[in-house]
Assembly symmetry: C2
Homo-oligomer: 767 residues x 2
């Protein structure tokens, strides 16, 4: 193993240490007044109570899947490492969520206190807390990958085993006489399955958190703001604590788990494709094969070092103006990416990667920046689309909604064209369009690497993403504790500062999700090949493991007729598109139902305790928190299970072509739909804020009555809430999780689908 | 040519004659009072003025495309028959629209008058007028197909030419020594291109009509109903005539053109696939090949006879109750379909079709019925989903919208699963999963035939579809002429009777569109093969025409790497999904803009002519009609051109794999999105009606004030209007038109894309 690989685990450990340092520094800041501590205490308790209950539910699912995978392993339909790998992926993801939440809920009152001392002080505390999240995600993600690689490489696939073969629980783990490239195929495909744990955890975090936060938000707004006419975050609103808890569980824990999954998924998928390149070429030496597999981990390690450096740079400017702060944040994020490119040049020098891969990473980064800018254009009140929605609000809620929906749909155009060009460039630069052996796999390796490049500086981009919600919560704390209005103004400024830097972050997140999903799609084939070889099934011509790993991707595609005219694949394609819509429908309805219970509870409290509105009685915050928690727990189960069950059932009935169709259809439709929902929601939100800032008459008309234009915009914002904070983000995970499910269940699908298809009479298309 | 083929042109001529009879009978009915004639006159003038202006715009597009195709033909990049075929397809489709509109606008006051005499009299006049539309669509569609077949078979591909070859304008039209099967491949692929004319006409009719009708509707509602508080169809509303004109141009002319295209497209695509089956098998005799090609036309002919019979049956029950009428209508539509199955048995006896094809048709019909019932379930106020939306309306407009969106997304689930199973069954029954030569083409032939079966009784299903809008317009006429309220009640009853029978019709329309699009996708390959052979291009191994038509579909798929892992195809897939969303966005925004102008005009008239509200001044109806007309004309051009330009550009850049990806992605996403938009719109509409009928407090609260629940439902309905009447239906055409564009531009794509790809460095994936 080349010495430079150790930079990856080292970077991971350093990241975790830095997280501890940042955490300590944040905790050292002043907690503010007793009232501020009290409010923060409510939010913290609510958030932690929610998190533990979520982990309980997720725990059951993990135990069930662990037992299932263990049984599969016992019957030799799954690798015996998979159940354990699945657990570690889930465990580390959950740990990141826990630490991120613990930090965020402790940072809100400290940020509010710091903001009352000055804007920059506020930024310091909030940004440092966001950095904790960024550091633990990359740290734990990378350490998990490195540990598994070490264990599998050094302990399982040691040279002795490769020569003599190894059985475990009676299963052929290491084939006798395994070559270096074949070994790497085995190791990477096994490691891929730990991504399933991270994906499952992420899905529950996103769906549960998304439902929680929007149920509380919609409930609080509909009764508090609309019916009772009290402002946002008013302590008289019984749902206000639940609303603030929601920001934490949705925006902090949910986002962290989401990006943890993308981060690990992209590295693992790229490593697996690297092994495939080596195995299929046949001319690659052992050393070169190892380099292909290790390169993504090393790039991630370099990116982590550079992120830490970037965070340090942001931290240094103590007495800067807001404009300078923004420049400093942007320098930190974009600068880190540029440094990653320089690091890649170093890797080219060491012959770890090719110039083609470098080109692929550049394609990915450029695509991410363009998608981010397009997002900014379509959702910021600075530009025409969002102002158009505000203009339409003058004609009432109906035209506001129509225009917002249309804007969301429009906004998918540029990102899709960008990602298509990005994929083609990454594939092409990495040599995919060449006609030498293994070119196709090299192209896909490039696509995977584009995602790795985009996510390599996740440490800092996540820090700039995560500090926004912390600032937002600090604003809530300031409002409820009755701090002077300028504190709220400062936290709002921090929040909007975060939104500007977050646009690029969002572009990277969405773009990398699409690229990762595509790399996972290709990895599914790698996984499938292994198992077809193992089963020596009737599907192929009796390929054994060694043969299977040598088989080219395109030969596999030909053999299993993964063509667009195969009705099984087309059927999968239709189903994939449908699943994306169905999943959205379920999460939206879930928000509606959970919000309904919240509305009833808030109305009941206002009715039963008339003293609340006069400020004489304390509302029962805990009851609202409990309702949101229970609602989210109940509602997250069905859509999440659906995401796991549908790919398996599709695979069993429609076979490998059906799976590929499902994943491709889900990816294409899911990407467009997620972009639409995210941007429509964002645009409605900012159109409302634009009107609140005085456009089209502002909040109140000159005669003091409510401005109906603002009312229409509020309705648009409320419709957009579940779109942008529940359904849209959850779709991002759905498209990756479905790929992961197919990868983990590949042996089951390969073993049983031929029989089922024979029985249904839908097998065999030869002419 | 077998004698039984003549049943098709005969049926077509009979249908046209029957249309004349029905028209005469309708015209013989009483026109009602002077006021009724006057109102009808306004609507007729507005509708005809719109139609002529639409034809003018479409005419320019047709001339431009005719010149383009002629130039292509001159340079031997297109068949010299194509420009002419393109024109006839467009001409007959336009003629159907004209006749349908002429009938509908003359029928409205006559139906109102008849309804004032009794419910059944009203049904007679409305249904007969709808039947005119049904008859002209199938009559002109079938006669166009039969004429082209006769001309090409008898005049161009005569036995003499087949032996000696034939050149036209220096182009090799008939290869020397052409076999019967090859001849049929040539004939059918040439005929396919006339579908492009019908598709283009349909797109403009649907998009233009859809924008017109919803701009007028939204404009009339927002100012008239919401601001001025006057009821629907009140003569004081200046936009009310435009609204009624809109029902005609959108629901009558638009729907007619849409189904004309599906009808012709399904027959043509299936005939082309029949020729492919024959050419690829090699063992088929000339007679059997001819039978495969003629079978879809003959089934269409039989279906037309049976539709006429069915319409006759509905006509006979003169003194029946409403329940009996409904049963009679259902007997007519479903009965005709069952008789078609019997006719198919007869064709099996004559060895025209196989039992497998029979099974395919049954699969299609069952799928159509299930999709129709699912539509009914999700959009009727009798069932939970729509009632759920009405329930959510109690919490305000935001929850109404969220729930409606979610319901629409949900509602796509069952139809997608149904269509997937339907496709697999049709493909499987017709022998697609077999492993004999040509099995794959046979399966696709089955899929095409399933669509032909569903549309064979279009004559009667379109009659039951088209009489609804006529009854609706009659209601408007009754309202504006001040007829007693029971007349309006009767026309409303007729309208809702039509909605019940139309559910199955809609299921057939959507289902057949998906199946037709799939058959067209396969036909694209047939077209491409011919041209690759003609160009003897560098793409393949120099296939000539005779070789090309023998090449199996799957060999083509393999050779051009139409696999799901080909990044060019995947890129196309992403773009296809995006185009569906973009097209929706454009049409929705167009409605918004056109409605905005209408709102301004209506407000202006109310302001400038205060006498209007008191009933003392006549509003300027013509001005509103002119605004809607101009708006629709202006707004329809860009989205329509986009639908033509995007497939060509995608094909030129991404080549054949890109085209296939685009079409598959557009089909899958478009189908789901269209179902969602149609059903969400329908559900919002019926939720509003459900509340108006008294649920959740009805229109007004006990104290006489407006019920906010009803207000929320009205907002939902307004949002749903462009979804269900503009964007959704237009998507149905988009997915077919894009296939047609690719088929017609196949030679251009095949000739130039290799050079472009070479230049871009994205050609050649070999390993």
């Amino acid at each position: 193993m080349p010495a430079i690989w150790w930079s990856a685990p080292l970077a991971a450990i350093l990241a975790i240490l830095m997280a501890m340092v940042f955490y300590k520094k944040m905790m050292a800041a002043s907690e503010g007044s007793e009232r501020m501590k009290e409010i923060a205490g409510y939010v913290r308790e609510g958030a932690m109570a929610y998190l533990w209950r979520q982990y309980k539910v997720v725990g059951f699912v993990f135990i069930a899947l662990f037992v299932l995978f263990s049984l599969l392993a016992l019957f030799h339909i799954q690798n015996p490492f998979v159940p354990v790998a699945f657990l570690t992926g889930g465990f580390f993801s959950g740990l990141c969520g826990y630490i991120g939440m613990k930090t965020a809920t402790r940072a809100s009152n400290r940020t509010a206190q710091a903001a009352s001392e000055g804007l920059n002080r506020g930024l310091q505390v909030a940004f440092r807390s966001g950095a904790v999240m960024g550091m633990v995600v990359v740290g734990f993600g990378l350490i998990d990958i490195c540990l598994w690689y070490l264990i599998l490489d050094k302990l399982v696939y040691t040279p002795v085993h490769m020569a003599e073969g190894l059985s475990f629980l009676g299963m052929d783990i290491v084939s006798q006489g395994c070559t270096e490239a074949e070994k790497l195929v085995h190791i990477t495909t096994t490691m891929l399955t730990f991504g399933m744990g991270a994906s499952t955890q992420a899905l529950f975090a996103r769906v549960g958190g998304g439902i929680y936060t929007k149920a509380a938000d919609v409930g609080a707004d509909l009764v508090g703001k609309v019916e009772a006419g009290i402002p946002e975050d008013d302590p008289r609103n019984p749902a206000t604590i639940a609303d603030n808890v929601g920001d934490n569980v949705g925006d902090v824990a949910g986002m962290g788990a989401d990006l943890y999954e993308s981060y690990c998924g992209s590295i693992l998928a790229t490593a697996a494709l690297g092994a495939a390149v080596a195995a299929q070429s046949g001319t690659f030496e052992a050393e070169q094969a190892t380099k292909l597999v290790l390169a993504p981990m090393i790039v991630a390690g370099f990116g982590t070092f550079l992120s830490i450096l970037g965070i340090g740079l942001v931290r240094c400017k103590e007495g800067a103006s807001q404009k300078q702060l923004l420049r400093s944040l942007l320098t930190g994020t974009l600068g880190s990416s540029i440094f990653v490119l320089i690091a890649l040049l170093f890797l080219i020098f060491l012959d770890f990667i090719s110039w083609g891969v470098f080109g692929a990473v550049v394609s990915g980064l450029v695509a991410g920046v363009i998608i981010g800018q397009a997002t900014e254009y379509y959702t910021s009140a600075e530009y025409k689309p969002t102002r158009g929605i505000a203009f339409q609000a003058q004609m009432g809620p109906a035209t506001t909604i129509i225009d917002g929906l249309a804007t969301g749909m429009y906004s998918a155009g540029l990102p899709v064209v960008t990602i298509v060009i990005g994929i083609l460039c990454a594939f092409g630069f990495a040599g995919g369009f060449g006609d030498q052996a293994g070119a196709f796999a090299q192209g896909l390796y490039g696509v995977g690497f584009a995602a790795v490049g985009m996510l390599s500086t996740l440490g800092i981009t996540l820090a700039t993403d995560a500090y926004g919600p912390i600032a937002d919560n600090a604003g809530g704390n300031a409002e409820m504790s009755g701090l002077p209005p300028e504190v709220r103004q400062r936290t709002d400024a921090l929040d909007s500062l975060g939104n500007t830097t977050a646009a690029t972050g969002k572009g990277f997140a969405i773009g990398s999700a699409a690229l990762t999903a595509l790399a996972l799609l290709a990895s599914f084939i790698e996984e499938a090949k292994i198992w077809i070889g193992k089963f020596d099934s009737g599907l192929g011509e009796g390929i054994n493991v060694a043969e299977a790993s040598k088989m080219s991707l395109l030969s596999f595609v030909d053999q299993y007729q993964l063509t667009i005219m195969n009705p099984l694949l087309l059927g999968g394609l239709f189903l994939g598109g449908m699943v994306a819509f169905l999943f959205c429908a379920m999460t939206m309805k879930a928000v509606g139902r959970a919000a309904g219970s919240m509305v009833e509870e808030v109305r009941r409290q206002f009715k039963d305790k008339p003293g609340i509105m006069e400020g004489k009685e304390t509302p029962d915050y805990a009851k609202c928190v409990a309702i949101s928690t229970a609602g989210a727990q109940r509602e997250m189960i069905l859509p999440s299970l659906l995401a796991i069950v549908i790919p398996v059932v599709t695979g069993l009935v429609l076979g490998i072509p059906g799976v590929m169709g499902l994943l491709a259809g889900g990816l294409a439709t899911g990407f467009v739909l997620a972009t639409m929902l995210n941007n429509a929601g964002g645009a409605w939100d900012n159109a409302k804020k634009y009107i609140e800032n005085g456009a089209h008459g502002g909040k109140k008309l000159p005669d003091g009555s409510k401005n109906p234009t603002h009312g229409a915009a509020v309705i648009g914002d409320t419709v957009g809430d579940p779109c942008k904070d529940t359904s849209g983000p959850a779709l991002n995970i759905l498209i990756k999780l479905m790929s992961m499910v197919c990868i983990v269940f590949a042996p089951v699908i390969i073993k049983f689908s031929p029989t089922i298809q024979q029985w249904l009479g839908i097998s065999g298309i030869l002419q």
